[in-house]
Symmetry: C2
């Protein structure tokens, strides 16, 4: 997520300086905030690097994961509609069309008309798609573990607790947009 923030976090002294001009700026809050976004960004990149080596983006990867999760929980090779995929992925149906387009083009998913509702398509994982996931996931999870094992178990618990608090507050400031997204497009 480039541009999420500037490359270098402002030094605390700069924040202090800026708070003279902008009284609403709380240096401590600003610092923590930027660190949170920065850390998220760095973690995102660490994971993305692995995906990029397999020529797949986070978005497409997410679609494949949705489809695979669906299979596993049912033990059946179930399929999902683009709308359902969009809902789970938190993007619009329009966006999902594009994602499924390229996934289908690459032979990772198939798309077929739904038998019961003529408005709908259904998307399912191909063997190739499943295979790709099995290639990707070991290192994907390893990287995740490497990153988070920087912290001890108690530290991770603390982190999750603090993050949970922030998320709750964020949900008040910005009601989940995902609820309307899959309807959009």
């Amino acid at each position: 997520m480039p541009m999420l923030m500037l490359k270098n976090l402002p030094r605390y002294e700069c924040l202090l300086e800026a708070s003279k001009e902008f009284p609403d700026l709380d240096p401590s809050a600003c610092e923590a905030f930027l660190h949170l976004l920065h850390a998220g960004d760095e973690c995102f990149r660490a994971i993305e690097l692995n995906l990029g080596r397999h020529n797949i983006s986070q978005g497409r990867f997410g679609v494949l994961m949705c489809l695979m999760s669906q299979c596993r929980s049912d033990g059946v090779d179930a399929a999902l509609s683009p709308a359902e995929l969009a809902d789970r992925a938190g993007v619009t149906r329009a966006t999902m069309t594009g994602l499924v387009d390229t996934l289908e083009r690459d032979g990772l998913v198939t798309r077929a008309p739904d038998q019961e509702d003529r408005r709908m398509m259904v998307v399912s994982l191909t063997a190739k798609g499943r295979q790709l996931l099995h290639e990707i996931l070991p290192e994907h999870f390893q990287r995740m573990a490497i990153l988070m094992h920087t912290l001890s178990e108690p530290e991770r618990k603390t982190l999750v607790r603090l993050l949970h608090k922030i998320k709750e507050q964020a949900a008040k400031l910005a009601p989940p947009a995902a609820a309307h997204l899959a309807s959009t497009g």
Copy 2:
């Protein structure tokens, strides 16, 4: 950052279940990781909502902030080259061209040839751009404060400390891409 993760975080039991199929998956690490990305996403959205009301994206906002920071530290209405902007913002020069295009179109920045190096343009903030920032920033910082004041000061310190650890690890897994970015494009 849509698609960063699926809309709903998997329950811990699901992670446990998945770890049977994927031995590299550490449920605790995975949980903390996803929480971090989710929290970042939510905070991003909370801030973005305010920006959106002023018809400006995070990216364009960042450019304006770069230019304003440059002014303030010098006390002079200095300008930056697109390459310098790209470097600070962590995007490619190609991307910066587009951002500056729309900012210029909206009268928020001006672009002029550099006097000393005919290859270069210089970009500066207009009064309109500065004005927009002064309209945006109060609530921008308020939102930031609201979010981070969910935590006490000690909790924020803890959070920053933990995040710093993770970022260091991430830097090892994914060396800063920004170093090459501004050269790209």
